[in-house]
């Protein structure tokens, strides 16, 4: 029986799942609800503050980690969801979903380094 290479994707899925479980809800709350609704001051996400975050090396790491790991978790699960709906999934779809996550992560890296 051929050894599956699932462990690679599962590890990324697991890391993303842990991160999104710990800080996903609060991040969505801050950026998608609190600040837009005025529950938190607009200053929280001001251009200057966010620019400072992106220029900070830890900020860069955090941005790449959050975007990259959220994408790997989300897209790996989506790949399984497609299978759960009875669609036959093969290496092609696997490459598309995980490739997309990889590209998204690359984009994040490129943006923070630029």
């Amino acid at each position: 029986m051929k050894r599956s290479n699932k462990p690679i994707f599962w590890s990324l899925f697991g890391a993303g799942g842990m991160l999104s479980a710990l800080i996903g809800p609060v991040l969505i709350f801050i950026t998608g609800i609190a600040v837009p609704m005025g529950l938190m001051s607009r200053e929280t996400m001001s251009y200057e503050r966010m620019l400072a975050l992106v220029h900070n090396p830890i900020g860069k790491l955090a941005i790449v980690a959050v975007i990259g790991l959220f994408l790997f978790h989300g897209l790996h699960r989506m790949y399984h969801c497609v299978h759960d709906f009875g669609v036959h999934v093969g290496p092609g779809l696997k490459a598309i979903f995980h490739g997309f996550a990889f590209l998204g992560t690359l984009a994040a890296v490129y943006l923070v380094l630029a």
Binding site: G17, G24, I30, G32, I63, I67, R77
Partner: protein
């Protein structure tokens, strides 16, 4: 003698509430992915110009976008809860009861949330 094979349809999960909740848990991945892409766009706008970034912020403030994020929050919160609820089953045997792991996990969510809210204060 022909054995009869009952077909499995794409809607197998509607038969049982347990399966429905499983699909809800799995569906949280869609909003999580969209959120990650939203952040990616935000970072891109940030590096382009202040005007483009402010435009991104303004779009986030539209009522239907806020309503969508409330839904996203609920789904990702459900993912967070089920993540730790399930976690004991993925760990090797530890001398800690399952419930303690779940409580520790949810507490960690609470602590991280408070820390982030505090760090984000302008």
């Amino acid at each position: 003698m022909k054995a009869y094979r009952r077909p499995v349809t794409a809607w197998w999960w509607r038969r049982n509430p347990y399966y429905v909740w499983y699909m809800v848990r799995e569906a949280s991945c869609v909003v999580l992915t969209i959120y990650a892409l939203t952040l990616l766009v935000g970072v891109a706008r940030l590096t382009q110009s202040e005007v483009r970034y402010e435009d991104w912020l303004e779009r986030l403030s539209r009522p239907w976008v806020i309503a969508y994020h409330v839904l996203a929050f609920v789904l990702v919160a459900y993912h967070a809860w089920t993540w730790f609820k399930i976690m004991p089953k993925t760990l090797p045997r530890v001398p800690v009861p399952d419930k303690a792991i779940v409580v520790a996990g949810v507490t960690a969510i609470g602590i991280c949330s408070v820390l982030l809210l505090w760090a984000a204060r302008a």
